[in-house]
């Protein structure tokens, strides 16, 4: 029987709740910090541009620090989640994500190299993208076999690439001779959005919104691809071209996210899995839900990262891994060991 299927209004309700959660998390994140601002005042300032806040400097904190930071958290979460959704669809494996497939570490290595070479910060997204793409191409080449990608090889190759990139990043840091940039890399590696502003949001939001729209447009082809490479091809899908386009979308979004937030793990793994549990049988809804869940996760985690620490911010990536690690173990223990 198909009784496990939630009815349509139920799915709509869940989407509304998710959107509400994102808006709630967003407002809370903007309001809470060293200085508390009432939600109504914050909304007035954000939406109306008029401020009834009398304390000097508070309005600036909101518009110049918290608002861009929260927007970046939202975009990073959405980008990583949809990137993970694509990689899971491509590999037909719910355990795939930007980390396991090596994309994040490749992007990470490129950004580390860019920082140490003193490149302008506006070049970070591009270098993260190129690094992620290079890692993805390497892994995809290793995973390539007649008629598609091998899941086992994709993940094995991804783990190997991650290890190599991680070692190279460590090498860069240790060999930099105590250059101030090395500190920047270490800080950046822990993952976090502290100190990011409006300048970083532009590129990130373009990549994120563009990536999500592209993924939504490709959602029908993603569904055809679930039938297997041969059947998809027999239905007129240029399978290898589709795989490359999807991989490029995933790498673009992940690269943009990594360049803005450093290594933030597990969002790309958790969000799409939760989305598939909550919303079945419609790729379009799953993609939107993944983006929303990812955005909520990172927004709330970033809020926790900057408010729960005693005097010092907790690293966002570390916080998320603390939650993500056990969830990953749970997934492994319950997945049906499909391994083709």
């Amino acid at each position: 029987m198909t009784s496990a299927l939630p009815s349509k209004p139920n799915m709509a309700l869940r989407l509304v709740i998710l959107t509400g959660a994102l808006m709630g998390g967003f407002i809370t994140s903007v309001c809470i910090g060293d200085v508390f601002v009432a939600p109504r005042e914050a909304l007035e300032l954000i939406l109306g541009g008029t401020s009834s806040i009398s304390t000097p400097g508070v309005a600036d904190i909101l518009t110049q620090i918290r608002l861009p930071r929260t927007l970046i958290a939202t975009a990073v979460g959405a980008a990583l989640a949809v990137s993970g959704y694509i990689l899971q669809a491509l590999s037909r494996n719910p355990l795939a994500d930007p980390y396991l497939t090596g994309v994040s570490s490749g992007a990470g290595l490129a950004v580390a190299a860019a920082i140490i070479l003193g490149l302008d910060f506006s070049l970070m997204p591009a270098s993260a993208f190129l690094g992620g793409l290079a890692a993805a191409i390497l892994v995809a080449q290793m995973a390539r076999r007649a008629g598609g990608l091998s899941v086992t090889r994709l993940i094995l190759g991804g783990v190997a690439i991650s290890a190599v990139c991680g070692s190279l990043i460590t090498l860069i840091i240790t060999q930099s001779g105590g250059a101030p940039q090395a500190q920047g890399i270490i800080f950046w590696l822990a993952g976090g959005i502290a100190g990011r502003g409006w300048n970083d949001l532009g590129t990130l939001s373009i990549y994120t919104i563009g990536g999500i729209i592209a993924t939504l447009l490709l959602s029908k082809q993603i569904r055809v691809l679930t039938l297997g490479d041969e059947t998809a091809q027999a239905l007129g899908v240029d399978v290898s071209r589709l795989q490359w386009v999807l991989l490029a979308c995933a790498v673009l979004m992940c690269g943009a996210a990594v360049s803005a937030s450093g290594l933030v793990a597990f969002v790309g793994l958790i969000a799409p899995n939760l989305a598939r549990m909550l919303f079945v049988r419609d790729e379009r809804v799953e993609i939107i839900a993944s983006a929303l869940i990812g955005a909520v996760l990172v927004t709330v985690s970033d809020l926790a990262a900057r408010t729960l620490g005693q005097g010092q911010e907790l690293p966002l990536g570390t916080l998320l891994s603390l939650v993500g690690g056990p969830f990953f173990l749970y997934l492994i223990s319950t997945s049906r060991g499909e391994d083709a």
Partner: protein, 269 residues
């Protein structure tokens, strides 16, 4: 109809295989529009490899495939998918789709790549496919919850929704019980009457002799790749000698005495 006599597919010295290495070689076949052709042969003789090559899922190692006189290799993919549908032996059901959702994917080559909406002609094709395969009661069920035979019928329905000119079926009876094998026979004859051309890998000689106009038999050779052993109308080529040679085993042919016209072929110890 004069048109129904026209040649729709031709294999010219075709070699099929993987990575440039032939599994089957030297196949010649001419297929007329509206005919049913069986590819027969022992296990590992390369029947499926041959079928996949005709579907262009793998490139031909050597030789040529002509579809309506044009080189198959040069046909643009979307056009190919409108002319030719392929049903694998087992279809992946990794995703929790309903039977109807899966059948609707057969419309993919007729739709824009981003299009989810099913237009009026898409709906009609999907309904026809569901009716032809008697799946209306299962349409709302998940493909992960139905039996192998039901999934096989769903895959056939999906290929019918594709509205191809040529239908390629890999072992379509593999998971079917007698009742559904019989309805598949009726379905193939019905499709044939609508001028659809069908090429299918089959083990069931009884099925072949009752439904097919032509049978192509491939057999492994001592030096490696299989070759074409015989090809022709079942009544002519499904002789005891041919079959014993094809399958390397003792066979007897028993005609149904109550219906001598039926050309039934059975094997017995």
């Amino acid at each position: 109809m004069a048109e129904s006599k026209s040649e729709v597919l031709r294999l010219e010295n075709l070699s099929a295989g993987f990575n440039g290495k032939a599994v089957v070689e030297g196949v010649f076949l001419t297929v007329k529009r509206g005919s049913v052709v069986a590819i027969a042969g022992g296990n590992g003789a390369g029947k499926s490899t041959l079928l996949k090559t005709i579907a262009r899922l793998i490139p031909a190692v050597n030789g040529k495939i002509l579809i309506e006189g044009n080189d198959l290799a040069a046909l643009p993919l979307p056009l190919l998918a409108k002319k030719l549908a392929y049903v694998p032996q087992d279809i992946a059901a990794s995703r929790d789709l309903t039977v109807e959702d899966m059948i609707a994917l057969g419309r993919n080559p007729h739709q824009k790549w981003w299009q989810w909406r099913t237009a009026q002609n898409d709906k009609a094709a999907i309904e026809n496919a569901i009716n032809a395969t008697q799946l209306s009661e299962l349409r709302g069920k998940s493909v992960t919850e139905i039996s192998g035979g039901e999934r096989q019928r769903t895959a056939i329905a999906m290929s019918l929704a594709q509205e191809p000119e040529i239908l390629l079926l890999d072992e379509p009876t593999a998971h079917l019980d007698f009742k559904h094998q019989k309805s598949l026979m009726h379905l193939l004859l019905q499709l044939k009457s609508k001028d659809m051309t069908i090429i299918t890998c089959l083990h069931d000689l009884n099925f072949i002799s009752q439904v097919c106009d032509q049978v192509l038999c491939v057999k492994k050779t001592a030096r490696g790749p299989s070759t074409q052993l015989f090809a022709g109308a079942p009544q002519e080529v499904l002789t005891r000698e041919n079959l014993q040679s094809a399958f390397d085993t003792e066979l007897r042919i028993i005609q149904d005495s109550s219906n001598p016209e039926s050309n039934s072929v059975f094997f017995g110890l």
